[in-house]
Amino acid sequence: MVIGKSLPRVDAYDKATGRTKYTEDLCTPNTYVARIVHATIGHGYVKSIDTSEAEKVPGVVKVLTCFDTPPYKYPTAGHPWSTDPAHQDVADRSLLTSHVRLFGDDIALVIAEDDVSATQAARLVRAEYEELPVVLDAREAMKEGAPVIHEKYPNNVLSHTSSRKGNYEEAIKEPGLIKVEGWYDTPSVQHCHIENFICTSYMENGRIVVLSSTQIPHIVRRVVGQALGIPWGKVRIIKPYIGGGFGDKQDALYEPLCAWATTQVGGHPVKLDLSREETFTNCRVRHAILFHIISYVRPDGSMVARKLEMWSNQGAYASHGHSIAAKAMGAFPQLYPCDNVECDSYTVFTNRSVAGAMRGYGMPQASFAYECHAEDIVMKLGLDPIQFRRDHLMPVGYVDGFSKNELYSDTFNQSMDVGIKAFDYYKKRDLYRNQTGDIRRGIGMSVFWYNTAVFPISLETSSCRMVLNQDGSVQVQVGETEIGQGADTAYAQMTADTLGIPFENVHVVSNQDTDVTPYGTGAYASRQTYTAGMSIRMCAEAFKERILKVAFDYTRMQPYICDIVDGNIIRVTDGRVLMTLGDLATEALYNPKDSHHLTMEKTATIRSNAYSFGCCFAEVEVDIPLCHVKLLRVMNVHDCGRLINPALAEGQVEGGMSMGIGYALSEKMIYDQKTARLLNNNLLDYKLSTTMDHPKLEVHFLENEEPTSAFGTKALGEPPVCPVAPAIRNAILNATGISLHELPMDPHLLFREFKAAGLI
């Protein structure tokens, strides 16, 4: 058995030696270079565009403008399509736009023979604008008289949803309740995948082929078809290896524009390779969400009534829209169950960069708000932070009425026990009491709530194909993509064990090609091992059954007394090896009377979902005069069920924790208030955290197997980001007595708050 072993990644050697091919490696030398011309206003209309100077630049092939594009509006979110119009994503994008909604919106496209000509020409395209005022803040955008960003949404509210349980107004009348109220604000941040978005397109036999750095090839095919107004079968998307996505590439980014571009130059190959600056401004960002929470609690901390309001900053276009706020809001009544709850969430258009999916999908924001608020309750009531959580978190056996998710394991208590022991939590709490002086230390923690995949909100489907080779090895294909997280290796381990063949005999076809890869929606929602695991198991079991039936012709043994073990057909009754799988494949394929090409394909509809919980502990040292936080220790504890590959699982957690550290302490997109221009659109001014800002990233797993899962697994890709920022915040609170209410907790914020508190 190879499940549970830390085998090397199937792509490790090629990646380490630079042999792996990414989109740019696959462009032919004659490929034209496309450069987007970006608007230099934050909001308004393009009145005219002068391309004459640009067209004079030697090497320029074509200049296209927002007045040339097809008339179709399309959605970009990487959600499965819904045949129910009420459940479809908002179609508000055009290939290029004359209505500029963010500073840098796409108004024209230059296609040239090389990069220098394209860049020179793009600088020479002149546009005249009618400028409108901009709005960057969600609550400002909802006010009467705010600039209207989309005509269909006069108050800029893309969506407002509510949930109600019990009777809040009545419940708060109970005598002796203590009111705890807080505001918690989170910034727009970017994924910063190392490979910027890139795609290339060309035409072949009347169809459009797009190679793209995407997480979701099958979804992108649909979106390209919608954007160009052509049948989806006319589009072929190929996904090579990609240099990270983190949700940014769970969106159709510029594949539709690039697909259209090739049609405008006779099907010649065209490359659209975004700069880092464009990746910041024109791809997707994490929703900045402001939370307002009121809790009425009894002196023992039990919650009587709670109210949540949240405003989610959508930026200029709908993309994933309200799904993010909805997920964040959905967790609120579950994490600390309470009988009387009122929740309202608003997703609001502004002139910021478009917010979409990003690792955690609303939960890093929500975890910050909910776990800071929990600590604020603890502080106000003078309770023990751990005991408060033991007493009031979601209990074992809890079932959510909507998703039917059930908490099967005592994950919260088990994970907190790990953290308490590893950090000597109570001793540190004593040690750090009543500190004075410039440099103080503190310890804090946070739990997190997460679920796996998107059932029942959206379709969950996964298809798997297996093909047996003459030597007994097997190709495996699924639509769930390798995006650096190690999915292919996990798939190979699952296939090897289920089918009964050696790990090295499994060849995962890594690159998806919508012409040949069975349908799957891609990599997102921390769903890979859960959903693809289901189709892999379904396919492998059916395949084994088929193989054993065919084997009867050669072994004369009934399938039910046979099995495949270590690549051999064996007789279970006495363990005898009857023949190798390779011999069977060869005999069956080349049989002149009854030839079998042994393959199997299965589609799994997934109608379950799984909670994936855990916690984070953090210890900090705060230099008060320098307004600086040094993270001394940080540990994440995850219960993601059974580990398929512990080393890869640990890598996922470390990456997520790193992202959480940046979210906590340094990352923030800064917009010019007057023009809506993004000021820090590069990796120098945008403060992604570096290895020098990290302590050792400590990772611990609990392995309570998930009963609904094909391999006992559940979400791990996204959850690691979620609890880091609130754990650090609660540690700073422990160190200084200052409760911070916004991210990032960088020197700017600390300077403001320490000054207000009289510490400096």
Binding site: V116, L679, M692, F751
Partner: protein, 293 residues
């Protein structure tokens, strides 16, 4: 692909001067860690470049007969940090340039470029200010020496005439002998950073380590160009090397610095940091000098 009109490579200082004279619009390029970024941004796109990168005589750190430390302008930050001469006599400079960017930038970026780009945030600049460095410049008229106090003419403007290039940075013996220094770079993260503010303090203590004989305080990003905190320096001379003097320095530097408000940091915060950093850098420099503080 970079938008460069022409690239002329010089293999000697005379050749560089000749090329610069022949191409008056050309920009000098050394390691390229600033110039290529600007070409890419469009600020210097389509321009001629004169590369001095192949002039090996401009590399390395040496000590002249009179004890002057000579740092060739093409010396990389890495070279300076790991130079035995720097480590023995000018450790503060080696430490300061070891905070530039990341390892790759420190291997390609040069101290000449760091001081010729004229930016106030250069990690070497505040320490060179505090060391009273002297710039050696060669041009069509020959060689001249420019004290660093006369080097910075304004943001991104330095004292270089037509067809001139900086060939070395000199630190006189009297500037470093008996001094110990400490540099604090304040950034929003611990690497890959440009200073929000940088403060470099050099201290010379009395023989009994109790009195401040001399103190020089250099700043980056506390004014449009790198500066010295002359008022604070003057007030601290002759004072006891103690916490009280450190606190006084922290207060007095506010008379010298003039940071501005920008989206990268507020003026209030920079003023607060200038004060705290001077106090801390002074304290650390006194400790390194053997004082008890």
């Amino acid at each position: 692909m970079y938008d460069i009109k022409a690239l002329y490579e010089a293999y000697s200082v005379e050749e560089a001067v000749r090329l610069l004279a022949a191409h008056p619009e050309a920009q000098i390029i050394a390691g390229g860690s600033d110039v290529l970024v600007q070409v890419r941004e469009g600020r210097r796109a389509g321009k001629e470049l004169v590369s001095i990168f192949m002039i090996d005589e401009l590399r390395g750190v040496t000590m002249e007969e009179d004890g002057t430390i000579r740092i060739g302008s093409l010396s990389s930050f890495h070279t300076i940090t790991y130079s035995p001469i720097i480590q023995e006599h000018l450790s503060v400079l080696g430490e300061a340039v070891d905070m530039v960017g990341g390892p790759q930038i420190r291997a390609i970026g040069t101290i000449g470029g760091n001081t010729c780009n004229g930016v106030t945030s250069a990690d070497s600049a505040s320490t060179l200010m505090a060391l009273d460095a002297v710039m050696e410049v060669i041009g069509p008229e020959g060689k001249r020496l420019v004290p660093i106090a006369d080097w910075y003419k304004g943001p991104k403007k330095v004292n270089l005439g037509p067809a001139e290039l900086q060939t070395a940075i000199l630190i006189r013996k009297e500037s470093y002998e008996g001094y110990k220094g400490h540099y604090i770079k304040y950034g929003m993260r611990n690497a890959m950073e440009i200073a929000t503010t940088g403060c470099s303090v050099n201290v010379k203590l009395s023989a009994d380590k109790k009195t401040v004989e001399d103190v020089r305080i250099g700043y980056g990003v506390a004014a449009p160009v790198p500066i010295r905190a002359r008022t604070a320096e003057a007030n601290a001379k002759g004072k006891p090397a103690d916490a009280e003097t450190a606190a006084a320095i922290g207060r007095d530097v506010l008379l010298d610095v003039t940071p501005r408000n920008s989206w990268r940091a507020s003026k209030d915060m920079r003023l607060h940091l200038c004060s705290t950093m001077a106090q801390r850098a002074f304290t650390e420099a006194v400790r390194k000098s053997g004082g008890e503080i």
